[in-house]
Structures are given as structure tokens and as C-alpha cells.
């Protein structure tokens, strides 16, 4: 409940220990985290003195459906809603369902639902491509949030605190597992300069060392700031040679300086990143079939670039990036892409057109390459949308029961978990909060959410604060 407990102070010794490690990430934690080896004694300053369990996944791809997809129009069919379409809607005060205007009426789903695949999972016609991989989806229909507001929910989903000021899920994963590839950041944010509600805090490392914050990768234009060398290779090499000599001499004259020596190393890493990151982002070497599968060949810029980001996400998994978040583009003047208080049909269909095919392609492609097992995919908005409306083509914010799905990463496919009531208002069975979701994701990565801690503000901070339980029923 209280976001300010964490304080802003860290005991100097603990903090410094980490900062000394920060230039190259936490490769050593990968061993402890991934293979359950009890190497704690070999890990200086490790916060993990107890063994973690075997990991089912090594990577997470978080497909953030920014703004809130309507659950009753996608994965949670409500025949009763159709039946009572247009009738006055009422709900209890404890149901966190927003009404931005009066005279609420139930609103039926504009898209038909069908059972899909072997599993018979219900997916609406809004998402035909995702429907085609239904047997790989683990759909949670009983998500519960805290406040029906974008900023608060977005921060809650990303950081486990509705006010933020805490590390992002991706930062915790990066911190807990370290990187598989020292030349790359372990947490990448594939976006297009669109800052979601809650701001850059969503992706910040907060009190964790800065190396664990997200590195944004732009869809259009230069993928990463400052990644393109300003100088031709030979000239840059001449400068780097000069710097190495000059700085080494300085470090020596100071009788050795950890800070300066690691800064020197950073220059070599940075130099390699200049070629590695662009080549990682360059999909020109992918086969025409793959490009078509994702829809990189599509004409519309929004479609094309979202597909490109999804394809890059797969490449990053292959390159060893731990946590990859892909955000949706904002196509129109709104404060979040999926936030359809009005124009529900038009804009939900537009967002679906952009994201549906690439998301399905990503799942299919990872599976074909044998990477889906070790990659946990999370498809989630920060909220659902109201089953009721004051009009006929819009839904407002809703967090007392909504849907997300996961895939791969050692979770069961073709299943749904949890239920909402007959109108899709409240989760009534197997309620899952964001902390439970976080605990489960960490669990699949081999990290115990109660043991993944960082000493800060006088206490051992956790992603899940004092909450969270692993959803055992969905584990494969």
C-alpha cells in the first residue's frame, strides 16, 4: 500500500559493492539463477544466499498492450452481456470500474467468439492470428488491479507499485539473472519514442544499479541513441587508442582507480556495441518467409514497424537478451493506444491489425526454432475495459476483473485460468493480482520472488513487496 516505505537511502557499503560490478552486468548470477548451482560462496556480495530452483525460462518478452484491451471483446466471452445489451448496468462500489459519464448500459461484444484449436480456447474474431496459436496460450481471465487509472496501473504492472519509484520487472530480471551476452544490455525496450502513462519510470532501474534499466530501441530510424559511430572506424580507433593510453596513465598516476579503470573498459564495450546493436536490429538477413510471417512487408508504417520490433525481439532472445518489452504505437490523438472510451470498433480493430499478426508470428517462430520453451511471452495491458458503457461504441477503465495471456516459458498452453462473473465485471474465481503475476514470471525464470531482494532504504526490497504467490495451476 505504501510506496514511500522504500525510502531513498542505501547503506553505503552494500551499494558500492554493486556499483563496482555495474560496468559489465551480473554474468555470474546467471549460473546461480539458471542452473541452480549453489555458487553463492563464489559470488561476492550476492544477495542470494539460498539456492533458487531450476529455471524453466531464460527470457521474457513482454508485449505491452498499452491503454487496456477489452477483455469481454477478446478472451472472455459473456453471452449474458449480449443478452442484456442496452439494459441499465449496475455494480457494487467495490468493483473498480470507471464510469466517466452517467446512464450506464451493458454493451455486448462487437466481435464474435469462436472456440479455437485442439484446446477449444475461446478467442474472438478481433484477433484471428493469435486465435490460430490458441493451443500455446495460457489465458488468465481473473486479473485484478488497484485503481482504474492508466498511470497507476501501468506503474503497477511494470514496477509492482502503483506510484512507481521502484525498479521495473525487467530490471529485476536483469538484476536477478544477469546477462547472457556482455556486449548487450540485458533489458531492451522496443518502442518508438512513445512514453506510456507513468513515464519513463515504467522502465527505470530505480534503486537497482543503472545497468539494469531498459535500453530503448526505436522502430523507425536510428535504433539506439548514440549507437552510430560519429567517426569513421579508423578515426574512432585513433581516438580510442589515444584515450586508452592517456587514461591508463592517469589511472596509474592515481595509484590505481577502480572507477577510471572500469570507465576505460566501458569504452571497449561501447565500441563493440556500435556494431553489435545495429546488426542485431538489422533484419535484412531474415528470409522472405520470416519477414512475411511477421508482416514486416506490410505497407502501413504502424503495421510494418510493430512487426519489425517483434522480429527484433526474437533476434534479441537469440542474442541472449533477458527481458524484452515491445510497446504498441499510438496511431491517433489519445493518451494510450488501446484506450477506447469511444471509437471502440474502429480503434480496437486498428490496434489488432497492427499487433495481431506479429504477435502470433513471434509465438510461431520461437516455437519453430525451439525457443518458446525457454522464452516466456507476456501479453498484457494495464487494465481491461468496462462491460458497460454510456454509449454504444466505447468502454472505460476497468480493473476488477480482466484478461492477460502468457505463452511458452514452461507454462501450460491452450488453457484458461480464473473466471469473471457473468457480466465480466469481477474476477470471482482464482483472483490474480499483479504481484502474483510477477511472482509466477520470476518463478519460471528460476527466481524466488521472496528471495530476489535488494537492500535499500533499510530493508530488503522485493518486486512483489510483501505480496505475491506463484500460480501453480498454470505451470506445465
Amino acid at each position: 500500500m505504501n510506496p514511500l516505505c522504500p525510502g531513498r537511502i542505501s547503506p553505503a557499503a552494500t551499494r558500492r559493492s554493486f556499483l563496482q560490478q555495474s560496468s559489465l552486468g551480473f554474468g555470474w548470477l546467471a549460473f546461480a539463477g539458471l542452473f541452480g548451482r549453489t555458487t553463492a560462496s563464489a559470488i561476492p556480495h550476492s544477495p542470494f544466499r539460498t539456492p533458487h530452483f531450476p529455471a524453466r525460462a531464460k527470457h521474457v518478452i513482454f508485449l505491452f498492450m498499452d491503454g487496456g484491451v477489452s477483455h469481454v471483446d477478446t478472451f472472455d466471452p459473456k453471452p449474458e452481456l449480449t443478452k442484456r445489451n442496452g439494459q441499465p448496468a449496475q455494480w457494487r462500489a467495490d468493483e473498480l470500474s470507471q464510469s466517466v459519464s452517467a446512464n450506464r448500459k451493458w454493451l455486448k461484444n462487437p466481435w464474435e467468439f469462436q472456440q479455437r484449436g485442439q484446446s477449444g480456447l475461446w478467442v474472438s474474431d478481433l484477433l484471428p492470428h493469435i486465435a490460430s496459436v490458441a493451443d500455446d496460450l495460457c489465458v488468465v481471465r481473473s486479473m485484478v488491479g488497484e485503481t482504474p487509472l492508466h498511470g497507476a496501473q501501468s506503474l503497477l504492472l511494470h514496477t509492482g507499485r502503483s506510484i512507481g519509484a521502484a525498479p521495473s520487472l525487467g530490471s529485476w530480471v536483469s538484476y536477478g539473472l544477469g546477462t547472457e551476452n556482455e556486449q548487450l544490455p540485458s533489458y531492451m525496450l522496443l518502442n518508438n519514442d512513445w512514453v506510456p502513462n507513468g513515464g519513463s519510470q515504467n522502465f527505470a532501474s530505480s534503486f537497482l544499479p543503472a545497468t539494469h534499466q531498459a535500453t530503448p530501441v526505436r522502430a523507425k530510424g536510428r535504433p539506439v541513441d548514440n549507437i552510430t559511430p560519429a567517426d569513421p572506424a579508423a578515426l574512432q580507433r585513433a581516438k580510442l587508442d589515444f584515450l586508452r593510453e592517456q587514461d591508463s596513465a592517469t589511472a596509474k598516476s592515481l595509484g590505481g582507480s577502480d572507477a577510471i579503470e572500469s570507465a576505460i573498459k566501458n569504452y571497449e564495450t561501447a565500441a563493440r556495441m556500435q556494431s553489435l546493436v545495429p546488426s542485431l536490429c538489422d533484419v535484412s538477413g531474415e528470409s522472405p518467409e520470416t519477414l512475411r510471417l511477421y508482416g514486416v512487408d506490410r505497407a502501413n508504417d504502424f503495421d510494418k514497424f510493430y512487426a519489425l520490433q517483434c522480429l527484433r525481439a526474437r533476434r534479441m532472445v537469440e542474442a541472449g537478451v533477458r527481458f524484452i518489452e515491445v510497446t504498441c504505437p499510438l496511431t491517433h490523438n489519445n493518451n494510450a493506444p488501446w484506450d477506447q472510451h469511444g471509437e471502440l470498433r474502429k480503434r480496437h480493430e486498428e490496434n489488432a491489425r497492427i499487433t495481431d499478426q506479429p504477435v502470433a508470428a513471434l509465438i510461431r517462430d520461437l516455437k519453430a526454432r525451439g525457443l518458446l520453451d525457454e522464452t516466456l511471452i507476456l501479453w498484457a495491458g494495464e487494465m481491461g475495459r468496462t462491460p458497460h458503457s454510456s454509449g454504444t461504441d466505447g468502454r472505460d477503465h476497468h480493473v476488477s476483473g480482466y484478461t492477460i495471456f502468457m505463452a511458452g516459458g514452461g507454462l501450460r498452453g491452450g488453457m484458461t485460468y480464473g473466471t469473471t462473473d457473468e457480466m465480466g465485471m469481477s474476477a470471482v474465481e482464482h483472483r490474480v493480482d499483479i504481484h502474483d503475476l510477477h511472482a509466477t514470471i520470476l518463478h519460471q525464470l528460476g527466481l524466488h520472488h521472496e528471495r530476489l531482494t535488494f537492500r535499500f532504504g533499510g530493508r530488503d526490497q522485493r518486486l512483489t513487496d510483501v505480496h505475491g504467490r506463484v500460480i501453480q495451476d498454470i505451470l506445465a
Binding site: M1, I9, A210, T211, R218, I227, F242, E245, Q246, N266
Partner: protein, 1012 residues
């Protein structure tokens, strides 16, 4: 005046006590007593400096505390740093800017005059040594004094304090709404630190400046005291209010409590929102005592002009207006003939109006309609007269029955608890008939005003606000406000001290009218979902610059960015009446009375026109003689709207007067407003929230101070928020924490680490100081010397401890790796702002100007919906302090080098070392632009050899001349660059790209971003 108290109920404590559930006991006496035995809660002592063996090493008394510690551990201090290192260190630490190479060398020359070549840190012959030391010290002291006197000192120390209050120019969350003119607070800090205003005073002002006698800056005429409270308003602030979503304001209060308790007191209180502190002497009751204080504060925008900047201009405007009024009166009185011609030429209305006509023009056209065809004027007129008399009597009677006067703005002092603010309102109390000169366009006059208070009486560029007392929370009350308004003046109901009320509506009503509103009963307005029936609610009218939430989120109320850019805005009020629903004030029609005085009906259209003209001209006559009433004003305005009276700015007699007025009006200085605080004596205590939940309450906690600082204020001050009392107890010589915490911050900024290494937590979860006596010595001395920052800084930087070199001896490194004993000066990476400022300064691009509007940081993509605009790559050469701190997306270059995200108070910044920083210094367009700027500039430096130029550039960048091998390394790089650019030998000196490469390389040298 009727009493308004029964209507405008000030919320009492008692009514809330009924709501109490379980009492929260707080800490037991025993626990509290035990916990207050903690070191930082003991009174500050004045310890005598300890005896030391190597007394000669000491330059100040503080050195004896440090040396005693070293001697106990059998360690020796590091030798004194060389003069160049000291000069660079001093410059960065005191001003945040690199020294100029020539200043460093001048200092070195001065020092070397006294410098023995065989100087050794170990004192050989004490007497001789001391003589030298004194002379060296004179040179050193002069350098220190000149840096303390530099205007950049204030910038540097303002920025340090801005970390504590987590300074922002915007409020983040979803739309990044602006923090109302926060930059005036930033400039206030710069001025205060430069003027060495006692820090105690600054603390008082930041907590309760609005309650203090004004401290006026003589140069700007600003009330510094009103600028201070912006300190409490920084960080994330959501839009909406508690009735919309419970917790909106409470979150802001938690942020204020966190900032004030950690920042000012080094104590963590915010965690007590949900539970008693686990270790410190802080209970949950303490949290709600503070919450009661801050929730009893209004967070409006204030006009900070203490000295009226416009008196001369206003006098001139009034003269122009007087002349214009006289000319217009002449013109209007002479316009009977054209008026008659105009009237007779007007067509009749086509449809008959069901209600009695509401303007002179409408009455004219309706009269014509009724007397056309078969009906003659002689028949129609008596009927109309009868209707008029009936209507008039009915309406007068209705108004007398229905209306209760709540506030009267037509006479000073009759506002009945409503308050106004702003220079526009200050000069806006007018009599009936005050003309408003149109500030543009073809009309000379915009309108005539009825008596009241009008922000635009002189100019739409002066500001105004009117705020009501609190309304009764539960019962709805309907009332009507006589008003007119335009250019996005707004009214808003402020619920539970909301910062960004979305019960905001822009007003567009050119002619005076009644605005009928219902206050209270917000439960209904919130859709029946509000959990509380005890909201604090008041009404605010404000022009743009005094509207706390202007500009609101993008597009709100149809607002366009061009409207935001236009500084004009206006409104005014006449009277406020309370009445039942549907019983709003009615137009009493008195202005038409003269038309109907005579029983005789006009016999022709010409006679009718004459009667209308005479009625109008009678009003003009009274206006010309300054004895008109509000009905005359309305009549004249109706005539102006109908263009029945000449009002063209192009009229040959009016034109020069209108032009003169408009020219003079442009010289007015608009109000300098800022988001501040206000105390309305309407305080109430807060209920303790069970586990911090916003909807589950225990008992009421008396507002006031936390218990360990004396507890709630005495009953005598309970009619106010208690904020001033809180401020006084914090900014107190006797407070054990305040001076200790601040002195520790200053030490941290000068030494890279604090004496207490957890600067925001002096409690049980913080770290105890290794040198508690030194901390007390400094705190006591700081207080004794009048809380002077400059004296404290001077003491610290002139100490032998601070002047040590930054290389520890091997023994010290082993014995005390963390340098707890201060056996050397720790090497430090420059903070983000200093890195960017050094790039500007060394390249010659720095604009040293102080203060002003923030500059948008350079962005690779803009987001107009959040007003995240991109600014110039080099920020116009202005210091980093002046880049706009948009909370949603702070300046990226600064964030990369650990400028903290300004949501929470930050006492000690992170220092990370990541490849992104190397990438930025290698490839960031800003760094490259600075290298280019410098590369271009050095071509004109007069150097004739690469060595000479490289030497100068090296010294500019690093504050010291290069050693031989360093010089040859740099020259070699220049040669290699020339080769790669395909230059013929000999062309190198005139080739900018080569020197840009050299500049770029020097920016990347680690020494550039470190101080030793």
C-alpha cells in the same frame, strides 16, 4: 451584511470525531522514550577540538577532529594536493564549472611565490612552515572568496538543494502538466544562496513563506517568501481529486511529508502512513499530525509581486483613459441625429419574443414588430408598457424574496470571506461605468464595466483570482455569481486541496451575466461512488497565470496551444447571491424605465426613436458625469454591441488616444505568479487511515508537529494549519536534527561523502557517523554563525582535510579502505550538470546568464500531447540548471550521468559507470557540436604550431598543462586525424575538423569528468 457562516461552514473537528473507529495508540511511552535516546535526537553539543600531536598540519579547528581520528588509527593524512588540482577542485565544487586555464596559472604563480621547492607535508621547522602557510593561505583564501562571490555559486548550491526538494518543471503522471512557474522558485534559490540568506530563513520560507512577513528582493521586487513554498509542490501530482478517485491528494501529501521529513530532518516519516515506524520514534499518529497540517493548506497559485512594478504605467493608462472617456462622452452626446437615422432604418424582428426583450435593441425591434400592419403603435405601446411594469414588479419582488447576498465585490472589504489576488484585481475595483479600452481591433472600447472587481480594468495582461471560503460538504448549495470573463479565465471547484482540479471550466462571457453553480454534494457529481461525505470544497475563479492548473492537460476544454501562448485572460465579479435551485437573479429591467415613464404612447416611429435616443442619451449624460448606475452601464453596453454609439478606434479624435493607451499598455509587466501555498484559517485534523487505506479510518489525530519535535501545536493556533509552527520548530537553533542534517549535506557535496553516509536518514536505519563530535562542532558553529552557508563552505574548503591530495597512502588504503577517517580527498566523478556545463564552458559555448524560463531539452522525438517539445541541441549554451525538468521524460543526457528522477527526495546521487556513458561522449550530437564549436574557435587562437595549440586545449580541458608525453600523444592524434582527413602536411593548423577531433578526444579523457 448578512452572516455567511451558517452557509459557508468551516469544517470542525467535532463533526468528524463521530466517524472514529478504533483508536490508534501509537508508540508506548516506554518505546518512545527508548527510541528518543538515539544519538541524532540529542541536543547538539559544542565539543572542544581534541588535542593532536601534529597540530601544525591543521589549518582549521575541524582538522583536529579528523587528525585525532587518524592519529588514533596510526594513519597520516595525505599530502596537500597540488595547486592546480586544488584550483580545479574548488571551481567545480563551489560553482559547478571548470576553472579557466589562465586563472589556474595565475593562482599557481601566486602560490609559488611562497612555495618552497623542498616543501614537504611533514612539518620540519614549525615556525618557518607556519609563515609560509599563512602566505599561501592568503592566495588560496582569495581564490575561495572569489568563487564564493561568483554568481555561479548560487546556481551550484541551488542545484544541490533541488535534489532534496526533487525539483521539476512538470508534474508527470499521464499528461505532464506544468508545475506552475516552478522556475521562479529555482531562481529564488539561486538568489538566496548567492546572497547567503540564513539557511534557517530559507527553511522557514519553503515551509511557510506565505505566512511570514514578506522578504522582498530589492532588485526584482519579488516576494521571496511567497516563492518558497513551491518547494513542497515538486514531483508527481495527479489530475482529478479525491471525490473522483480517493488518494489523489493523499499521495501528494505523502510525497510532501517524505520530502520534508527526510530532506529537512533526515527522518523517515512517510512509512508511518501505514504503520508505526519499526525502529525510530515515529508513530503513525505523527504521520497524520503532519498530514492534517498539509491537508489544511491550500495549494493555489499566487501573485508574487511585492513591489507593484506598474504604478507609473498605470497612472499613465488612467490619464489616457480619462481623456478617452471625455472624448467619447462628447462624441456620444453629439450623436443623436445619426442615432435616430440608424434606429429608423432598422427592420422589425420577424418573430415575437415570448419573454420581455432583454436588450434595448431587442426591445426596439420587438416594438416595431408589434406595431406593424394593422396594429398601431398607439395600441401596442400601452400593452408593452403594462407588460413592462408587470414584469418589473414581479422580478424585483422575486429577487427580494429569493436572494441572499453572500459576497459583494462592488465595495472594498465586503467580500465576506472571499479573497482576491493578482495585480489585475488589485487595480480592478471600479465604479459603475469604468470603460475597458480594447487592446486590439477596430473598437475603441471593449465594454463598460459595472461596479465590481475586474482583472482587466486596466489590461488583460494583469492577473486575477477570486477564491471562496469552504462550502458545507454534504448539502448542496446553489448560488449565482455576477461575472463576465474571457480568454480562458476559468472557474473550478477545488475538492480536498486538489492540485489539478478537473472540475475546471473555461469561461467565455463577454457581457456581465449570472453564473449559477451548485457546490457541495460532490458524491452525486462523482457518479454516486464517492466514499466520503466530508470533502473540503471551495470555488476558484482565475485568469490563466493564477490558475494552478493552466495549461491543463492538452486539449482540455478545447484549449489550443496558441491559447496557452497568449498571456491575456480576464474576468471580474460583482456580487454573489445564494438562492434556491431555479431561483437565480432576474434582470429587473430598470434601465428601460425612462422609456415607459410617460403614459402617452409615441405616435410614430420617429417619436419612438426619439424616446429610445433620449433614454440612451440620458444614460450617456450620467456616464459622462460619472454618476451612472449598473443599469446605465448595461444599457450603454447594449448600445455598443448594437453599434448605436460611435466606438471606432479609427475615429479621428479617438485614434490617437486609443493608440496611446495600447502602446502604454504593452509596457505593463504581467504578474509574476507561482504555485505556492495559502492558509485560510479553515484547518481541520485528519483521521488516521487504517493501514494507510484511503477509505478506512480510525480516530482523528490533532494536526501539528511530530511528537519527537514537540508534538501537536497548542490549542491557541488551532484555527490555522499549524504549518508556521511546524516550520519554526524545524528551522530552530534548538532542533537537534535540522542543522546536523544540513551540515552533513554540505560536507557531502564538498567531500563526496557525508559524515553520516545516509544523508536522508539519521534514524536507526541510517549509518552512525564516525565523527559525531565533528558533526556537532560544525552544526553548532553553523548555527552560531547565523546559518550562513558561505561561512560553512569557507570553513570546510580552507581546512587541511579538504586540501589533501586524492591519493591515499598504501597503509591508509589497507587500514581504512572506505576512507571513513578522511585520510585523503576522494576522487569524484563530476555530476551530470557539471559534465554538460564543462562541455559548454571549455568549448566556449557557455552563456553564463542567470535565471529565466526553462529551456526544453533536446529530444529525438517530440510528444505534443504531453508538451514534450524538443529544444536546441546546445540548450542555447545555458547551464544544465536551466534545462526544463519534465518529469515525464527528464533531459536524457543528464539522466545518463545520474541526475535523479525527480519524484522523490535524493540526498546522495548514484554514480554509475556504464557503456551508455561512453557511447554518449563518443557519439552524442551535443558532445560533437561542442567539439565542433571548440574546433572552429581554436583556429583563431593565434597558435603557430600544433604543440602550442594542443597545449592550450589540454590546459583548457583539464586545468593543467600537459606533461611531455601527454602533449606528444595529443599532437600525434592531431597528426593522425589530419592524415585520415587527407590533409597535406602543413594544412593542419587551419583545418577545423582536426581540432574538432582533438577537442572530442579531450572531452573523452576520463580526467575531464573527474575531480581529484
Amino acid at each position: 451584511m448578512k452572516p455567511t457562516a451558517p452557509v459557508l461552514l468551516l469544517l470542525g473537528v467535532l463533526s468528524l470525531a463521530r466517524l472514529s473507529a478504533a483508536p490508534a495508540e501509537g508508540l508506548s511511552e516506554e518505546t518512545f522514550r527508548k527510541r528518543t535516546e538515539w544519538w541524532s535526537l540529542q541536543p547538539v553539543r559544542q565539543p572542544a577540538p581534541p588535542a593532536v600531536k601534529q597540530a601544525a598540519w591543521c589549518r582549521t579547528e575541524l582538522d583536529r577532529f579528523v587528525l585525532a581520528g587518524l592519529e588514533t588509527s596510526k594513519l597520516r593524512p595525505a599530502p596537500e594536493a597540488d595547486p592546480r588540482a586544488l584550483a580545479r577542485r574548488l571551481s567545480f565544487v563551489l560553482t559547478g564549472l571548470p576553472p579557466r586555464a589562465e586563472d589556474v596559472e595565475a593562482f599557481v604563480r601566486e602560490v609559488s611565490l611562497f612555495h618552497s621547492p623542498t616543501f614537504s607535508p611533514a612539518p620540519a621547522r614549525a615556525g618557518e612552515k607556519l609563515g609560509k602557510q599563512e602566505s599561501e593561505s592568503a592566495a588560496y583564501d582569495r581564490l575561495v572568496d572569489s568563487l564564493l562571490a561568483s554568481p555561479h555559486f548560487g546556481e551550484r548550491w541551488a542545484r544541490h538543494w533541488m535534489d532534496v526538494v526533487h525539483y521539476t518543471d512538470t508534474h508527470g503522471y499521464e499528461w505532464d502538466a506544468p508545475a506552475k512557474h516552478a522556475w521562479r522558485y529555482r531562481d529564488y534559490l539561486v538568489r538566496a544562496f548567492n546572497a547567503d540568506v540564513p539557511f534557517k530563513q530559507l527553511l522557514l520560507e519553503q515551509l511557510a513563506g506565505d505566512l511570514l512577513p514578506p522578504r522582498v528582493d530589492s532588485r526584482t521586487g519579488l516576494s521571496e517568501t511567497l516563492l518558497g513554498p513551491m518547494a513542497m509542490r515538486m514531483g508527481e501530482r495527479r489530475h482529478g481529486d479525491n471525490a473522483f478517485a480517493d488518494g489523489v491528494t493523499q499521495e501528494a501529501m505523502a510525497n510532501i511529508i517524505d520530502t520534508v521529513s527526510k530532506g529537512f530532518l533526515g527522518t523517515t516519516v512517510a512509512c508511518a502512513q501505514c504503520h508505526d515506524h519499526k525502529l525510530d520514534a515515529i508513530s503513525q499518529r505523527d504521520y497524520y499530525a503532519l498530514a492534517g497540517t498539509f491537508m489544511s493548506t491550500r495549494w493555489g497559485a499566487r501573485s508574487a509581486d511585492a513591489v507593484d512594478p506598474n504604478l507609473e504605467v498605470l497612472a499613465e493608462l488612467r490619464r489616457h483613459k480619462q481623456a478617452l472617456r471625455a472624448e467619447l462622452a462628447k462624441l456620444w452626446l453629439n450623436s443623436r441625429e445619426p442615432l435616430l437615422a440608424k434606429l429608423t432604418a432598422l427592420p422589425a424582428d420577424e418573430k415575437s419574443s415570448p419573454a420581455f426583450p432583454d436588450s434595448l435593441a431587442s426591445l426596439w425591434r420587438q416594438t416595431l414588430l408589434r406595431s406593424t400592419n394593422v396594429v398601431t403603435l398607439a395600441t401596442a405601446w400601452p400593452k408593452l408598457r403594462e407588460e413592462f411594469q408587470r414584469e418589473r414588479e414581479k422580478r424585483v419582488a422575486a429577487n427580494q424574496t429569493n436572494l441572499t447576498l453572500l459576497a459583494d465585490f462592488t465595495r472594498a472589504g465586503m467580500e465576506c470571506g472571499w479573497r482576491w489576488d493578482g495585480l489585475g484585481m488589485k487595480h480592478g475595483l471600479v465604479r459603475d461605468g469604468e470603460p475597458v479600452v480594447a487592446d486590439e481591433g477596430e473598437a475603441a472600447l471593449a465594454q463598460l464595466l459595472p461596479a465590481g472587481r475586474w482583472s482587466h480594468a486596466c489590461s488583460q495582461r494583469l492577473a486575477g483570482a477570486v477564491r471562496s471560503p469552504l462550502f458545507a460538504p454534504e448539502t448542496a448549495m446553489t448560488f449565482s455569481v455576477g461575472y463576465a470573463a474571457g480568454r480562458h479565465a476559468a472557474r473550478a471547484f477545488i475538492v480536498d486541496q486538489a492540485f489539478h482540479s478537473e472540475r475546471l471550466a473555461f469561461l467565455n462571457q463577454p457581457q456581465p451575466a449570472w453564473l449559477t453553480l451548485t457546490a457541495g454534494n460532490f458524491d452525486k457529481l462523482a457518479g454516486g461512488n464517492d466514499t466520503s461525505r466530508a470533502r473540503r470544497v471551495y470555488l476558484e475563479f482565475a485568469t490563466k497565470s493564477l490558475n494552478n492548473y493552466f495549461p491543463p492537460r492538452t486539449g482540455y476544454g478545447g484549449l489550443k496551444e496558441s491559447d496557452v501562448a497568449d498571456e491575456r485572460s480576464w474576468f471580474g465579479l460583482t456580487r454573489v447571491y445564494k438562492h434556491a435551485v431555479g431561483k437565480a437573479p432576474q434582470d429587473e429591467l430598470a434601465r428601460f424605465a425612462l422609456l415607459f415613464v410617460s403614459e402617452a404612447a409615441p405616435e410614430s416611429k420617429e417619436q419612438l426613436a426619439a424616446r429610445f435616443a433620449d433614454t440612451l442619451l440620458a444614460a450617456v449624460t450620467r456616464w459622462a458625469e460619472d454618476r451612472c448606475d449598473s443599469e446605465d452601464v448595461r444599457l450603454l453596453n447594449e448600445a455598443l454591441v448594437a453599434k448605436w454609439l460611435p466606438n471606432e478606434a479609427t475615429n479621428s479624435t479617438l485614434a490617437p488616444l486609443v493608440a496611446a493607451y495600447r502602446t502604454t499598455e504593452k509596457r505593463l509587466q504581467p504578474d509574476r505568479t507561482i504555485g505556492s501555498a495559502d492558509d485560510w484559517n479553515e484547518a481541520r485534523d485528519e483521521r488516521l487511515s487504517v493501514r494507510g487505506a484511503y477509505t478506512e479510518f480510525a480516530d482523528v489525530v490533532p494536526r501539528g508537529n511530530i511528537r519527537l519535535l514537540g508534538g501537536p501545536a497548542t490549542r491557541a493556533v488551532l484555527d490555522s494549519s499549524g504549518r508556521l509552527e511546524l516550520a519554526r520548530s524545524i528551522a530552530s537553533d534548538a532542533n537537534p536534527l535540522t542543522a546536523r542534517v544540513f551540515v552533513n549535506r554540505v560536507w557531502l557535496h564538498l567531500f563526496g561523502e557525508g559524515l553520516v553516509r545516509t544523508p536522508d536518514d539519521f534514524g536507526h536505519l541510517g549509518e552512525k557517523p564516525v565523527h559525531p563530535e565533528l558533526l556537532d562542532y560544525l552544526a553548532a558553529r553553523f548555527v552560531a554563525e547565523g546559518w550562513s552557508l558561505k561561512k560553512l563552505v569557507r570553513l570546510l574548503v580552507t581546512s587541511a582535510t579538504w586540501r589533501q591530495a586524492s591519493t591515499p597512502s598504501e597503509a591508509a588504503r589497507v587500514a581504512d579502505a572506505e576512507n571513513r577517517l578522511w585520510h585523503h580527498y576522494p576522487q569524484q566523478r563530476l555530476d551530470a550538470e557539471s559534465i554538460r556545463d564543462a562541455l559548454l564552458a571549455v568549448s566556449g559555448r557557455l552563456d553564463p546568464a542567470l535565471g529565466g524560463d526553462p529551456i526544453d531539452p533536446y529530444r529525438t522525438a517530440q510528444d505534443a500531447a504531453k508538451r514534450l517539445f524538443s529544444g536546441p541541441l546546445d540548450g542555447l549554451g545555458r547551464r544544465s540548471l536551466y534545462l526544463k525538468m519534465t518529469l515525464m521524460e527528464p533531459p536524457k543526457f543528464l539522466a545518463l550521468f545520474n541526475q535523479p528522477i525527480p519524484k522523490l527526495t535524493t540526498g546522495k546521487r548514484d554514480v554509475t559507470n556504464v557503456p551508455d556513458q561512453a557511447l554518449a561522449l563518443l557519439n552524442d550530437p551535443f558532445v560533437l557540436a561542442m567539439a565542433k564549436h571548440w574546433g572552429d574557435r581554436v583556429l583563431k587562437d593565434g597558435a603557430t604550431t600544433p604543440e602550442a595549440r594542443a597545449k592550450m586545449m589540454f590546459a583548457s580541458a583539464l586545468g593543467r598543462p600537459p606533461r611531455d608525453e601527454e602533449l606528444s600523444r595529443l599532437v600525434k592524434l592531431a597528426g593522425r586525424s589530419a592524415e585520415l582527413h587527407g590533409l597535406a602536411p602543413g594544412a593542419l593548423m587551419a583545418c577545423a575538423p582536426v581540432w574538432q577531433d582533438v577537442a572530442h578526444a579531450l572531452f573523452n579523457v576520463k580526467e575531464f569528468i573527474y575531480v581529484h
